[in-house]
């Protein structure tokens, strides 16, 4: 089969990818066929009838574009008066029993009914008879709240629980305009991906208990990011906003489509990791147990390093590739033992065969590529001798080691999040987290992905790379790290920082073969 086919849309010939339905095929060249129920991850259902198009010389002349495969020579018409009228009529039917409670609806601003009303309808209401009333604010479980009146019965959520999670908690009960999405009595949504139905819902029928009524969608800045909740590295939108007189706060994560990594969805626990970016963050620098300003703390730690006889660096498996490399460089420079021991980040058996991984760290694959030792023996042997341990974000307590009982070894912590290890540290350097920094991570499947800074705080914390440079490291910025990676680490010899594709770069299998899960 050829990779592209030619067909005519509104009399204009276009070349589109082969093997797709009409909606996706012409969308690839920027032509929109309005649709509500179709979603590429869930297949065509054909129930909304919004995507009806005319096929000239076709039989039948009127087809649902979602159900129709684009074919060579097909003559599609979207701009005829007949089709425009059908689109208006379908919108009218969708809206007659819709509550139109946009002012109090979370979906307002990103609602398909609003968008399509403006684009395809614009007709006044002719509804003079009472509307159908249905259930409101129904708790479907897993943090999902449902409004049956707003629902357009597209069945995306139902199909999601049947096709994707295969848990089937949702169904459409009743017929005619009494049809409604519901759970079975006493059987709420019970899967680890349930909140995806909120994103899938084209209207405000499925809302997230966590997000509802917290922000208007149009106030949110929607930045691209990568979830650091596990080693899958799912692509996300980081939706954040700085309200007047307040700080830039993240309100939600939403999945961002990437076929190389996560497809269209993310897990619920990863979605909720946005809270770690807002709360329980390290803010106050410490030097020798005393609160000081950051500069003093950096200088104090630098002096303490110089005095140390035996120095151990502990790096977190969630550090970015650039951070790891810079830590590694500094370790070599300071003759420190470098360890990546982080067994506690792995929750054996927690992962599934879809997105969720056992390993709750974001970048462990980079350890193997950089040759960073992960064994417990290396770390414990080094700690027996050491008088200073600097942890770069690694919460050693997760791995069953008591950070308050390190004996003569003094503890320093350079990181973003409060944890037992940071609590026990006498030197503390707070740094920007991944949502405020840029960097690269390599996921469990060996896909190298770049992410940029999404959030800019009122009082930004320095990046870990800046701190490392101040502590005597050789690299001032990401570019400098990459020059080194390109020349000194075989796996990155051929990787051009500027040309890493947006969807990530799959490193060859052999390079990540020895990465432990």
């Amino acid at each position: 089969m050829a990779d592209t086919i030619k067909l005519s849309v509104n009399g204009v010939e276009v070349e589109v990818p082969a093997g797709k339905n009409l909606i996706d095929a012409v969308a690839a060249v920027g032509i929109e066929i309005p649709h509500i129920c179709y979603h590429p991850a869930l297949g065509a259902d054909g129930n909304c009838r919004m995507c009806l198009v005319e096929i000239e010389d076709g039989r039948p002349p009127l087809v649902a574009a979602c159900k129709t495969k684009a074919a060579e020579g097909m003559k599609v018409r979207l701009d005829s008066e007949k089709i425009k009228k059908i689109q208006r009529d379908i919108m009218e039917f969708e809206l007659i029993n819709h509550p139109i409670d946009c002012p109090i609806c979370d979906q307002a601003g990103e609602c398909i009914l609003q968008d399509y009303y403006v684009k395809y309808d614009h007709a006044p209401s002719r509804m003079r008879v009472p509307q159908v009333t249905k259930g409101k604010k129904m708790d479907f479980g897993s943090g999902v709240v449902h409004d049956q009146e707003r629902c357009v019965l597209c069945a995306r959520c139902v199909r999601f629980t049947r096709l994707i999670t295969k848990t089937g908690e949702l169904g459409i009960v009743n017929r005619t305009d009494q049809a409604r999405v519901n759970i079975f009595p006493g059987r709420p949504l019970n899967n680890r991906y349930a909140l995806n139905v909120v994103d899938l819902c084209p209207v405000g029928a499925m809302t997230s208990k966590d997000f509802r009524f917290r922000q208007r969608a149009w106030f949110l800045t929607k930045s691209k990011g990568i979830c650091h909740g596990c080693s899958k590295g799912c692509n996300i939108y980081i939706d954040h906003n700085r309200e007047k007189y307040k700080d830039d706060i993240i309100y939600r994560y939403r999945p961002r489509h990437n076929d190389l990594v996560n497809g269209y969805f993310i897990c619920d626990s990863g979605r909720m990791t946005y809270k770690l970016e807002n709360e329980k963050r390290l803010r106050v620098p410490l030097a020798a147990g005393q609160q000081v300003d950051l500069e003093s703390a950096v200088n104090a730690l630098k002096r303490r390093m110089d005095q140390a006889d035996k120095l151990v660096f502990l790096v977190s498996p969630s550090c970015s590739l650039e951070q790891m490399r810079a830590i590694q460089q500094l370790a070599t420079h300071k003759a420190a033992v470098l360890s990546g021991y982080s067994e506690g980040y792995i929750q054996k058996g927690d992962g599934d065969d879809y997105l969720i991984q056992d390993d709750k760290s974001a970048n462990r694959a980079a350890f193997a590529l950089l040759g960073i030792d992960e064994s417990k023996d290396t770390l414990t042997a080094a700690l027996n001798e050491a008088d200073l341990l600097i942890s770069f974000g690694n919460d050693l307590s997760l791995s069953g080691m008591d950070c308050t009982a390190l004996g003569k070894t003094e503890l320093a912590f350079v990181g973003s999040y409060a944890n037992n290890c940071a609590d026990a540290a006498s030197y503390l350097l707070p740094v920007a987290s991944y949502s405020e920094d840029n960097g690269s991570i390599i996921n469990i499947d060996g896909v190298l992905q770049r992410y940029g800074a999404a959030v800019v705080k009122n009082e930004p914390l320095p990046s870990m790379l800046q701190i490392l440079a101040q502590l005597g490291g050789a690299f001032g910025d990401v570019q400098a790290v990459w020059s080194d990676l390109n020349s000194a680490v075989e796996a990155f010899n051929k990787v051009d920082l500027q040309n890493i594709p947006a969807e990530g770069l799959a490193l060859t299998v052999s390079e990540v073969d020895n990465v432990t899960a």
Binding site: R49, N97, L153, I172, A179
Partner: protein, 423 residues
């Protein structure tokens, strides 16, 4: 006027019992059947001109030829016995009075299309009928007409009765298949058509009970004998259910092609004394109504009905006299289709309820003049935009009431207007 082809054994006591039915000729065609090639059987059915008796009138033999050749998938036969169209009550007579005629027809059809598994999808409310049918099937198994070796021939046929749960939409052939598969009865998008991808994804032929029950006669007496009844394009006989405001409502077997009004007068006794004919619903509630004047020139066949912009439908004739309130009749009709809309696709799900409420408002004295045109526009907006034709069944009929009896709707609205206080 009446003939006894399908109904030959209807008046024989206990003809639902194998012993009695057999004495009167049931299963008489099977010896002949197994001497024929399957394709020959199909040819005879095609030559007979038999058209689908479920309402659409698609040629039965031609439908069978749509099965893909050389597939390694099984072929299924689904017998549509979901008789739910208001005013239609013909198949139930076959199920109760001569179920062995249906089973014999199933054997003939299965042999012709090389199917070994037939499902009879019977309407949920037909509890009594299902019991009698199942008893007949059990007898047929015991007597070797069904089972691993039909009459000792190397041909297996298993027949399963599947009861519906009361949804009209399950008479739509793909909703019927969904229902057999254990899913919610909702029509599938077509294509693919069931002959290519039907029950469990396999090629499936779906025929109405009466169509299948017509096969034994056609096979026994030949295509010409069948064509001797009816018209050129509408051959054979049909079980007509005549109801409404006539003196002798009932089920009558008639050849196709008879004048409608004559049938109403002579067979069903005509309208009651002192009343006049107002209109006739010719073939089930979904067929556009004929005015008394139009009905004069209509004959009971597919061509004549089409020429009068209505449909032959399912043979359910409803006679309306001058006492009938057409607005309330229209509301009753729309209420049925509203209630039975599966709710899957938008225009039908939302539109029928809207139309029903508008009609309710008109009857309640809250109608507005523009409501009639709004209803007509909604008919257009819904019709043929949907996955199946349930909504079209409603809109085609409603449109005929609005257009042909508009003055009655206007009268309701005029009364409303006069009742309004003067501003």
């Amino acid at each position: 006027m009446e003939v006894k082809i399908l109904s030959a054994r209807f008046d024989i006591a206990d003809a639902n019992k194998l012993e009695v039915a057999k004495k009167h000729g049931a299963y008489g065609t099977l010896e002949k059947l197994f001497t024929m090639e399957p394709a020959e059987v199909t040819e005879v059915v095609k030559a007979s001109g038999l058209r689908g008796r479920g309402g659409a009138g698609f040629p039965t033999g031609l439908k069978w030829t749509f099965l893909p050749k050389g597939l390694d998938k099984p072929v299924y036969l689904a017998v549509n016995s979901d008789e739910s169209e208001p005013a239609t009550f013909k198949d139930r007579y076959i199920l109760v009075r001569d179920p062995h005629m249906l089973i014999e027809g199933i054997i003939i059809c299965c042999y012709a299309i090389n199917s070994h598994d037939a499902y009879i999808y019977i309407r949920g409310e037909y509890i009594y009928q299902a019991k009698i049918l199942q008893a007949a099937i059990d007898e047929a198994y015991a007597a070797g007409y069904l089972g691993d070796k039909v009459l000792g021939h190397d041909f297996r046929i298993d027949v399963t009765v599947h009861r519906g749960a009361g949804a009209y939409i399950c008479g739509e052939e793909t909703a019927l298949l969904e229902s057999i598969e254990g899913k919610k009865g909702q029509p599938r998008s077509k294509p693919p058509f069931p002959a290519v991808e039907g029950l469990y994804g396999c090629p499936t032929i779906i025929n109405n009970v009466q169509s299948i029950a017509s096969l034994p006669f056609i096979l026994e007496k030949g295509a010409d004998a069948y064509k001797a009844y009816g018209t050129e394009k509408s051959s054979g006989t049909h079980l007509f259910g005549i109801s409404g405001l006539v003196k002798k409502p009932g089920m009558y077997e008639l050849p196709l092609g008879l004048p409608l009004v004559e049938v109403v007068d002579k067979v069903a006794g005509g309208v009651r004394d002192g009343r006049t004919l107002k209109g006739i619903i010719p073939g089930g509630s979904s067929t556009p109504v004929l005015t008394a004047e139009e009905a004069q020139s209509v004959t009971l066949d597919y061509e004549s009905m089409a020429a009068h912009k209505t449909m032959f439908g399912s043979g359910g004739i409803v006679v309306l006299d001058d006492t009938v309130d057409m607005v309330k009749l229209a509301e009753n009709l729309v209420h049925f289709y509203y209630h039975e809309s599966c709710g899957q696709c938008t225009p039908c799900r939302e539109g029928l309820g809207w139309m029903l409420k508008i009609l309710g408002a008109i009857i309640a004295g809250k109608g507005k003049a523009k409501d009639i045109d709004l209803l007509l526009e909604l008919c257009d907006n819904i019709e043929m935009k949907t996955v199946c034709v349930l909504s079209a069944a409603c809109t085609m009929a409603l449109r005929s009431y609005l257009n042909k009896f508009r003055s009655e709707f206007e009268a309701y609205i005029a009364n409303t207007a006069s009742a309004q206080p003067v501003m």
